[in-house]
Amino acid sequence: MARDERVFCIGEDIGIPGGWGGAFTVTLGLEQDFRERIIDTPISEAGLFGVALGAAIMGLRPVADVQYGDFLFCAMDQVVNQIATMRYMSGGKVTVPLVMRAPVGATGRGAQHARNPEAIFYGIPGLKIVCPATAYDAKGLLKAAVREDNPVLIFEHKLLYGSKGARAETEALDASSEVPEEDYVVPLGEGIVRREGTHVTVIANLLMMHRALLAAERLAGEGISAEVIDPRSLVPFDWELVEASVGKTMRAVVVEEGPRTGGIGAEIAASLAERMSDYLLAPVGRVASPDIPVPFAPPMEEFYRPTVERIVEAARGVVVGSGG
């Protein structure tokens, strides 16, 4: 923000002195340095995303957030019908440099504060989508998004907001990788190999990436070498990286936290079947949540979200089933 005065933040409960810096303290502190550029809104999601769009059209670079990804549905007309189409409808004359942030994932709050809606937005042309799994990427992708001339939706996982601080979640995982102080970006559309392997490619982002790494660890114990790819961006998607990996391992499993039907995994599986049919030794495995709303009670929530165990099973199934 210090670099570009066109950048401003807009959201609920982000600018109150003595407040929280958003539902998950993400903007905490910024309200002191950039008072006028931290805009605290009424509880009006459609309004605030539309306002951000209007400002973006005029050349500002807003960073708009909702407190939970579920609330994107309150702003859905703006996101889908306006933000994603404005440039196109204008015949390319209007530019929409707009960043949207939304925390996702189930955290003991029941069905309305828990969804992983990535797949729903994945099918909306005109939006770029990123999903950082580490603190390093969170900073680098945010900076890339802010410098991008198109709408970018950033999904962040509540359980990755750091194990420290006042709003850390009980089961939060430590994703606090080294974060350099200096300016750097993680380019949109660049995935990364988180662990190398030769028998099966496991594609996973956000919290699932961490579980996939744990699964890979366990699989190694069984003699199965899993390569873990974190695509980091969903749109654009790093097909090159994934194809290179699957070309080597000849097997793939996609892990996601959202419901299975119509999920990200469906697209990746269908695309890989088309792109890599000469290589794939087995159908792409999909690990996802069941097709249900998110339940509250801890045992049910735990059952809902893919576990390390389920990832291990799926990878093992794909490898063993194809003579690995």
Partner: protein, 319 residues
């Protein structure tokens, strides 16, 4: 108005029940034995109790992310509520809902809606069903001050108005939506000025005075039941606890908090009962002891109750 003593004491007992329930729950959270998150009702008890005491059993309420008070006031059992907070099968939603979605249609409470403003259209539709069926029932929509800035509020209250539906829209104005003061997000002195926009009456009352709330609610409920249409009822109150767990409320000015604590509804009403001679201190103490015992029993029962089987998550998606 003259009320009978039983009724007056009943209101007191209900408010104390809610307060003690919430305090106990807060403690369970701090101990780390209760899962999830909570939004609590301490300080606002006079609203739920004042309004619900003006309703019949067959009337229906919708609630919010802060629903425990509404649930107890509408007659859900302490057990079924505590069970739900613990995520047990004995909970009013069998553990599927959790704190933000407690409810029981049999008791006239729709599972609480945690999307701010989301319940306003739903309550309006409940009112529509009563009108279409010509049933003499009323729908009450509880919402916070912040909810009045949502589009859903606007659309739904307008529909209630144009169709003269039997609905009472209750704004619990505790002056904040999360950390944001309402005076920063609405330029109107009273949120009931928004009633003008829909051509319905708007009434603002002292929401920390249970009898005042009760009386205003009665008028609005009567109006709704008679077919004269909805009322926007604003109850001025204060949340004397955090917005949700672990909120130290640093955004609330010291002075304001002090004043609010002095005006909190239970102390005030208790003092009034004593001053009027309606009750002795002993009766008040006894009410409190009784509810404490009931709450303890509910905690015990909830902790002892079975957790749902993990695979039970797969049930109840479709009828």
């Amino acid at each position: 108005m003259a009320y009978d003593t039983q009724f007056l004491l009943g209101l007191y007992r209900q408010m104390v029940l809610i307060r003690q329930f919430e305090e106990r729950v807060k403690f369970l959270f701090l101990e780390g034995v209760m899962p999830g998150t909570i939004h609590q009702y301490q300080g606002q008890e006079a609203v739920a109790v004042g309004v619900c005491s003006a309703l019949e059993a067959q009337d229906v309420i919708t609630s919010t992310h802060r629903p425990h008070g509404h649930a107890l006031a509408k007659g859900l059992s302490i057990e079924s509520l505590m069970g739900e907070l613990f995520g047990k099968v004995t909970g009013c939603c069998h553990g599927k809902g959790g704190s933000m979605h407690v409810g029981d249609l049999e008791k006239g409470m729709v599972p609480a809606i945690a999307i701010v403003g989301g319940g306003v259209p739903i309550a309006t539709g409940i009112g529509l069903s009563f009108k279409l069926r010509q049933e003499p029932r009323v729908a009450v929509c509880f919402m916070g001050d912040g909810a009045t800035n949502e589009g859903a509020f606007h659309e739904a209250v307008n529909m209630g108005a144009i169709w003269s539906l039997p609905v009472v829209y209750v704004i619990e104005n505790n002056r904040y939506s999360a950390s944001t003061p309402i005076c920063q997000t609405a330029r109107v002195e009273r949120l009931t000025e928004r009633a003008h926009a829909y051509g319905i009456p708007g009434v603002t009352v002292d929401g920390n005075d249970v009898l005042t709330v009760h009386e205003a609610a009665q008028v609005a409920v009567e109006r709704a039941r008679s077919g004269a249409g909805p009322t926007l009822l604003e109850a001025m109150t204060y949340r004397i606890t955090g917005h949700s767990r672990r909120d130290p409320c640093l955004y609330q000015p010291e002075e304001e908090r002090k004043q609010a604590l002095a005006e909190e509804p239970i102390g005030r009403y208790g003092a009034w009962l004593l001053a009027e001679g309606t009750a002795e201190q002993a009766a008040l103490d006894q009410a409190r002891a009784e509810v404490d015992a009931e709450i303890e029993e509910a905690v015990r029962a909830a902790q002892a109750a079975p957790a749902p089987a993990p695979e039970a998550a797969l049930e109840d998606v479709f009828a």
